[in-house]
């Protein structure tokens, strides 16, 4: 159990800044997901926490202790890799035993033949065996202990890798995209299993993924990284509903948030071309971008209209792709009721509630809004 503190972490490879000053605090027992598109530096950050990669500047503290320059194994963290990284020549049992043997046996005791003759070795091996069997029981891999990794399925290898991490009782678990090599169905299953494991162990989990669904479903907090910077951290609900940056809004949520071009008037009112919204803000007049989640688009009524250009019916829900008339932009509406889908190429009226709007300035920063309580969206001025 540990808290991890990162201050002003910078890292560059061959002159490319991969991390541009990361400050972040991970509380004890938290399940933190580091999400972002590939190349955003999230894996590098994880490797810096693990000690596999030295940072150019900045400090890592684990439980208040600076760990910079301390070897990975001495930091007492465990890591689960995307490729699982099991030793291919060792059985499942021996794979899980490696960290224990490295820690509990002396160098002489680890020698292949001589070591077995030493007096203390057998008792220690008995303890190791007991620990591994306990872990195997918990993870449901007891029947697999004698198999080699090559004889295991993806999900089983995944469990063995988790077992190897658990057995050393680390201060924190680091996961580097551990589910991305599994097929979609198994991934959903393992998601639940990992979340359950976190609840049981109550340990600190740092989980790197590019899959926002994994981050949303498992974590207690999400940290969104883009281009080497940590843009926003918060609970999944906060990140989803109150994104502080348009890049966060666009990255989290599937399908992507709809973005319409807009304008802020001098009096603080907000216009979508041709239509004034029932909103005001304190920002200076100028261009802005209006974000609305697909599920907040209401079809059938409203001041806007669009042509249906594509339909995706998933059974439980449907996505309607619209080309918005007058602006040339496209948006996606989510329909919960798939029984009443608009026809292809038909024209549909749509609107959205003022509180569904997330406003961003041209640089992508969020602009706070005030709702005008009294009336709904005004009718388009020119109709």
């Amino acid at each position: 159990m540990a808290q991890i503190e990162l201050s002003a972490i910078r890292k560059s490879f061959d002159g490319n800044d991969v991390l541009k000053g990361i400050d972040f605090r991970i509380a004890d027992g938290e399940f933190i997901s580091l999400v972002g598109p590939s190349g955003c530096g999230k894996s590098t950050l994880l490797r810096i926490i693990a000690g596999l990669e030295p940072q150019n500047s900045g400090e890592v503290h684990i439980d208040g202790r600076p760990v910079d320059g301390i070897r990975p194994s001495a930091r007492n963290l465990a890591m689960v890799f995307q490729s699982y990284a099991l030793y291919p020549h060792l059985s499942t049992f021996d794979n899980i035993a490696v960290p224990l043997r490295m820690r509990r046996l002396s160098a002489i005791e680890r020698l292949p033949l001589l070591g077995a003759l030493l007096p203390g070795r057998r008792a220690k091996e008995r303890h190791i065996r007991a620990d591994i069997e306990g872990i195997a029981e918990q993870l449901d891999i007891a029947p697999l202990l004698r198999r080699k990794p090559g004889q295991l399925s993806g999900g089983q290898r995944q469990r063995v890798a988790v077992g190897r991490a658990m057995v050393r009782e680390p201060l924190a678990f680091l996961f580097d995209e551990p589910l991305s090599n599994l097929d979609a169905k198994l991934r959903v299953h393992m998601r639940a299993e990992l979340a359950e494991l976190h609840r049981r162990l109550k340990a600190t989990f740092v989980y790197v993924t590019h899959d926002q669904a994994e981050a949303m479903t498992m974590s207690s907090r999400i940290a969104v990284m883009m281009g080497g910077e940590l843009i926003q951290a918060g609970t999944p609900a906060e990140i989803y509903h109150e994104p502080g940056d348009i890049r966060v809004a666009e990255f989290i949520g599937s399908p992507k948030i709809n973005v319409l071009p807009g304008r802020i008037r001098k009096d603080g009112g907000v216009d979508v071309p041709g239509t004034a919204l029932k909103l005001t803000c304190n920002a200076a007049a100028g261009d802005c971008r209006i974000g609305v989640r697909p599920e907040r688009i209401e079809l059938g009524t409203g001041p806007f209209s669009g042509t249906v250009i594509h339909l995706e019916n998933l059974g439980a829900e449907a996505f309607v792709h619209l080309a918005v008339e007058g602006t040339g932009s496209r948006l996606i509406a989510r329909l919960a009721d798939v029984r009443h889908l608009p026809a292809m190429a038909s024209s549909v009226a749509f609107g959205f509630a003022p509180d569904a709007v997330r406003l961003f300035d041209p640089a992508g920063k969020r602009i706070e809004l005030r709702l005008e309580q009294a009336e709904r969206i005004r009718e388009p001025a020119h109709v």
Binding site: R47, L77, Q82, Y84, P88, M102
Partner: protein
């Protein structure tokens, strides 16, 4: 109808060519076995026959073992080739690991030097190495046979290429588990690289078991001779060239190689299929 017997002409041609090639390769070998089985009179007879009228293999072998201390020479061969191979692996694996998996200044230059080293024929460095061994007082010893070959640039190159294919995650996992860098070489990389080590072992052992040039120039003492020198000894012996025992001795010194190769080949194929199955 013409498709009823689909043995295409090209396939027949291919096999004829392959069989002809194999025959050329095998002919000296078969001739050696044939000669080793013939008595002296038949060897010098003018008619050409492969199968001897009277089998004299046992006699020839007995004579070969009586004339020269063949067992001793075989032992020398084993000591030298095994020492060379073990030392080569001990040098090549850590070097290859560093070149493949560690990031340090000048790595690419060092690797280029390794590649450059492959281009240098051993004969080119023979004189300086000979002088070096002379100054060190090591001529005419096992050390003279072994030391010049302990660093195999080919071995470093081969292992480095193989280590490149081992995923970095595996190395990182070992570091997280607390295995030292040298530990990673021997406990993680070596087991993963067994097929490559076996392949390298075949090259190394065959080359040094059969090496005639180097032992010939550094050795004087008879008791240190390696197998090829021992065979040459039959030719030069005062009693005149006795081909029967010479070929019998040649058979004896080739036997360990053939046996070792058959063993290694099986391991080799096993290794390849293991990595192939997923």
């Amino acid at each position: 109808m013409s498709n009823a017997h689909p043995i295409p002409f090209r396939a027949i041609l291919r096999h004829v060519l392959l069989i002809a090639g194999a025959a050329v390769m095998l002919a000296p070998f078969i001739w050696m076995i044939s000669t080793a089985s013939k008595p002296q009179t038949e060897i010098f007879s003018s008619e050409l026959h492969l199968i001897p009228y009277r089998f004299a293999l046992a006699e020839n072998l007995r004579e070969a073992f009586a004339k020269a201390n063949l067992l001793r020479f075989l032992l020398n061969g084993i000591i030298v080739t095994v020492s060379i191979f073990v030392l080569q692996v001990m040098v090549a694996l850590p070097a290859a690991y560093a070149l493949a998996k560690l990031r340090f200044f000048g790595r690419e230059t060092l690797f280029a030097l390794v590649l450059f080293g492959i281009l240098i024929p051993p004969q080119a460095t023979a004189v300086p190495v000979f002088l070096l061994l002379h100054k060190a007082g090591l001529l005419d010893s096992y050390a003279a046979l072994v030391l010049p070959f302990t660093i195999s640039v080919f071995g470093i190159f081969l292992m480095r290429q193989f280590f490149k294919t081992v995923p970095d995650d595996l190395v990182d996992a070992a570091r997280m588990d607390g295995i030292s860098e040298f530990g990673i070489v021997w406990r993680v990389m070596l087991p993963a690289a067994i097929p490559a080590v076996t392949a390298f072992g075949i090259f190394s052992v065959v080359a040094h078991w059969n090496d005639y040039f180097w032992p010939l120039i550094v050795l004087n003492s008879e008791h240190l001779r390696t197998p090829p020198l021992a065979v040459a000894h039959f030719r030069n012996s005062e009693a005149g060239t006795s081909y029967g025992p010479l070929m019998a001795a040649a058979m004896v010194i080739i036997a360990p190689l053939v046996i070792a190769f058959l063993f290694a080949q099986r391991r080799f194929i096993e290794g390849i299929t293991l990595t192939g199955i997923k």
